[in-house]
C-alpha cells in the first residue's frame, strides 16, 4: 500500500499549511468558461484551520512506479515502435512556497497526442489517434523534489465553448505533496505559444503572473542534441508553518 521511508534524521513536518491565496487561483464561477456556470459553488467556503485530517496525506512509494511510467513515447507503444511527434523532456522541481523541495511528491500527467487528440471515448476531434500513444505517465520526485519525464509535445485542439475556442498545447498535472491540503491539479503551457492568452480556461486565472507561472521555459541546456528538446517546469505547492512556537495539543 502507501508509505515510504524518510531520511534517518528527518522528522516529518506537522505544521499547518499557509492559507491558500484565493485571489491568485481561478474563482469557481468563470462565465467565459461555460461549464463552470453550473458547476461552481456560490456560497462562501467555510474556513477550517488544518486538523490532522488535512495535515496528513497519502505518500507513495517507488514500488508503484513501472520502468516506463515516465516515458510517454514508449509506455503505450508496440515493441520497436514509438509515439509520433516532437520529442521533448519535461523536467523541474516540486517546491513548496518556502522554496523547499517536496521529497517524494507524486506527479501524474496526461495529455493529447501530437495532433491534439486524446485517447478517450468522450473525445470526437477529427485528428487521428496515434496507435503508439496512450497519453498518461507518472513520476515520484527525488529527495530534493526533482522530476522529469519524456513525451511528445501535444498539439492544440478545438473544444466546444465559444464557436471557435482552442486550447493551447498543454500537459495536465496532478500533484500529491505531504498533506492532503496540498492536493493540486493544474496544467502546463509552453513558452511562446500565442494560444495561451486566447484560452478561456487559462483566462479563468485572474493574474497574468500566475499564468506565467504555469508556462514552461524552453531549456536548451537540458536539451539532448539530435534527440529531444527540454522544457523546464517547476511546480509550487503550499508551504507550511514551523510548529516550534505553536500552542497546540497534537492529539493525545
Amino acid at each position: 500500500m502507501t508509505g515510504q521511508k524518510l531520511a534517518p534524521n528527518s522528522r516529518p513536518e506537522t505544521g499547518a499549511f499557509f492559507q491558500r491565496d484565493r485571489e491568485w487561483h481561478p474563482p469557481a464561477f468563470t462565465p467565459g468558461y461555460k461549464t463552470s456556470i453550473l458547476r461552481s459553488p456560490r456560497r462562501p467556503l467555510v474556513a477550517l484551520n488544518n486538523t490532522l485530517s488535512e495535515l496528513t496525506g497519502p505518500v507513495f512509494g517507488h514500488d508503484i512506479i513501472g520502468e516506463l511510467d515516465n516515458d510517454l513515447i514508449y509506455n503505450f507503444a508496440a515493441p520497436g515502435e514509438a509515439a509520433i511527434g516532437p520529442r521533448i523532456i519535461v523536467h523541474g522541481r516540486v517546491l513548496d512556497e518556502r522554496g523547499i523541495g517536496v521529497s517524494g511528491a507524486l506527479i501524474e500527467v496526461w495529455q493529447a497526442n501530437a495532433g491534439g487528440r486524446y485517447r478517450h471515448k468522450n473525445e470526437g476531434y477529427l485528428a487521428p489517434l496515434d496507435p503508439n500513444f496512450g497519453g498518461g505517465g507518472r513520476i515520484i520526485a527525488t529527495e530534493d523534489g526533482s522530476y522529469s519525464f519524456r513525451t511528445v509535445q501535444p498539439g492544440p485542439y478545438p473544444w466546444p465553448n465559444g464557436p471557435n475556442d482552442w486550447r493551447p498545447a498543454h500537459i495536465h498535472f496532478s500533484i500529491f505533496g505531504h498533506g492532503f491540503a496540498q492536493r493540486l491539479i493544474t496544467q502546463m503551457y509552453f513558452e511562446g505559444d500565442p494560444m495561451i492568452w486566447k484560452c478561456p480556461i487559462v483566462r479563468t486565472i485572474p493574474d497574468h503572473h500566475a499564468i506565467e507561472g504555469l508556462t514552461a521555459a524552453l531549456d536548451m541546456q537540458a536539451t539532448i542534441p539530435m534527440d529531444a528538446r527540454a522544457y523546464k517546469f517547476d511546480i509550487v505547492l503550499r508551504g507550511r508553518r514551523s510548529t516550534l512556537f505553536e500552542n497546540r495539543l497534537e492529539g493525545n
Partner: protein, 204 residues
C-alpha cells in the same frame, strides 16, 4: 524598505478537464497495459481491521444532473483513528489500510462507490475528538479548483452533535449536507455543487 520574504506563490489551479481519467484512472477509461491497476482503486484487503462499509457518492450540478465525468478522492483515518501518513506521529496506522481512495463517477449512472472501513475518531486541534469523518476532494471539467468537503455518518448523531468542525458552521441548516445516510452497509452521499442545498465546501 524591509527585507523580502522570498516566498514562492503556489502554482495556480486549473480544471482537471474531461479527460482526467487518462492520467489518473487509465484502466477505467480503457487504456490498459500502462499501469497494472488504477491507483487508489482499492483501499482495503482481507486483513484490514474495522467495520466494512461502502460509500456511494454522486456529484450533482446546478441543473440537478449528476456529473458523469467527475473524479472523487477520499482520505480517512483507519478504524483506530490513525492516518497512514508519515505526518501521523501518534502511532502506526493499520498497514493493510491505505486510507486513500480514488474513483471516477460512472459514465452512465453518475455514481461512484468506495469500499472502505468506518474511520475511528481523530482529535481536533485542541485535542477534543472529532466525529468520525472522511475528507473528500472533487475535481471535474468546469471545476476550476478542487473542492474539499467532509463526509460524516448519519448513525453517529451523538458524535456529530459534539464535533468541533460542524459546530463552526454558522448556518446550522447546512450541516445536513455533510452527513451521509446509512442503508445496510452503504452510506449515500450527494455532493451538490449549487442550489438551495449546496454542500458545504471548506477552505482548508
Amino acid at each position: 524598505m524591509a527585507q523580502t520574504l522570498e516566498r514562492l506563490k503556489e502554482s495556480a489551479s486549473q480544471t482537471a478537464g474531461p479527460y482526467v481519467h487518462i492520467g489518473l484512472m487509465p484502466n477505467f477509461c480503457g487504456i490498459g497495459g500502462v499501469y497494472a491497476h488504477d491507483l487508489g482503486a482499492t483501499m482495503v484487503n482481507e486483513k484490514t481491521k474495522g467495520e466494512r462499509i461502502r460509500i456511494k457518492i454522486r456529484v450533482i450540478d446546478g441543473a440537478d444532473t449528476p456529473l458523469k465525468d467527475a473524479l472523487v478522492e477520499i482520505w480517512q483515518a483507519d478504524a483506530a483513528g490513525l492516518y497512514n501518513s508519515p505526518s501521523e506521529l501518534r502511532g502506526s496506522a493499520d498497514p493493510n489500510f491505505s486510507g486513500w481512495g480514488r474513483q471516477a463517477t460512472d459514465m452512465t449512472s453518475g455514481e461512484c462507490l468506495f469500499e472502505t472501513v468506518k474511520p475511528g475518531r481523530v482529535p481536533f486541534i485542541d485535542g477534543r475528538p472529532m466525529a468520525p469523518h472522511i475528507t473528500a476532494w472533487i475535481v471535474a471539467r468546469g471545476i476550476n479548483i478542487g473542492l474539499h468537503t467532509r463526509i460524516y455518518f448519519g448513525d453517529e448523531e451523538k458524535a456529530n452533535a459534539q464535533d468541533p468542525v460542524l459546530a463552526r458552521i454558522e448556518h446550522r441548516n447546512r450541516i445536513g449536507t455533510l452527513i451521509a445516510s446509512r442503508e445496510g452497509d452503504t452510506y449515500a452521499f450527494d455532493i451538490r455543487l449549487q442550489g438551495d442545498d449546496e454542500t458545504v465546501f471548506f477552505d482548508i
